[in-house]
């Protein structure tokens, strides 16, 4: 078995380009049999939500995402792994988070991306505040117990 690869982890305010990130993990190599991209998007909650304000802990956000991504690279034989998480004001319909996992085989790509999203939700230091269309600034989104259960699946 080859050594785990080093994931690419970025925390940024700007949007990302899914196809650009996919291309980066495929270009110039012929050992990639599976590429999985997961994009998390801000919903408008039935027309109520204007935007989410994503607060993060600079420094720790990168460090924690990297720890989770490195763990994924140890658990599954990936050929590439990219994680991009945005912060700041994100309007409904806009991208929040991207995970791209590449591997020789599909199961590794699925498991790694699934694992990454579960742990990212419960461990990466980001907090969402809702901005409603009618009432302006709303409240902080509460963490879901379901997210903890999802993360516990991987123990």
């Amino acid at each position: 078995m080859t050594a785990p690869i080093t994931p690419k982890v970025i925390v940024q305010a700007e949007n990302f380009d899914v196809s650009l990130e996919e291309r980066e993990l495929r270009e110039g190599r012929l050992d990639v049999g599976a590429v999985l991209s997961f994009t998390g998007i801000c919903r408008d909650e039935g027309g109520l939500l204007e935007a989410l304000e994503l607060e993060h802990y600079p420094g720790m956000a990168e460090a924690e995402l990297t720890r989770i991504a490195v763990e994924a690279c140890k658990r599954w034989p990936l050929t590439g792994l990219t994680v991009i998480h945005r912060f700041g004001k994100i309007k409904s319909g806009e991208n929040i988070v991207l995970v791209v996992a590449a591997s020789a085989h599909r199961r590794a790509a699925f498991n790694a991306a699934d694992f990454l999203m579960d742990f990212l939700k419960t461990r990466a230091p980001f907090w969402k505040k809702e901005h409603f269309k009618q009432d302006g600034e709303g409240s902080w989104v509460a963490a879901k117990e379901k997210d903890d259960e999802d993360a516990a699946r991987w123990n």
Partner: protein, 86 residues
């Protein structure tokens, strides 16, 4: 006595009215739990922010820790609600 940088995020930042501050740690304040109890004594804003410490997560030098983790050697501690990224 040692100085530690304390950071607050999300509703903890809003309730304390503080994003970060430097605190001189009294000798008996040697865990996140003890620091939270100490902060609660400061004023009503902090008492409100830390009224339910079970709901508060903490990190030392950018790593998640339990409330009873020693503060020895810590440069930065952060208090925040459960994460809701992704």
């Amino acid at each position: 006595m040692s100085t530690i940088k304390v950071r607050y995020f999300a509703w903890l930042r809003e309730r304390t009215g503080t994003a970060e501050e430097a605190i001189e740690l009294p000798d008996n304040v040697n865990t996140p739990a003890a620091l939270m109890e100490w902060l609660k004594q400061r004023d009503e804003a902090y008492a409100y922010a830390f009224e339910e410490t079970d709901a508060i997560r903490t990190a030392i030098d950018h790593e998640h820790v339990e409330h009873d983790h020693p503060l020895t050697g810590a440069r930065e501690i952060a208090f925040f609600p459960p994460m809701t990224g992704g």
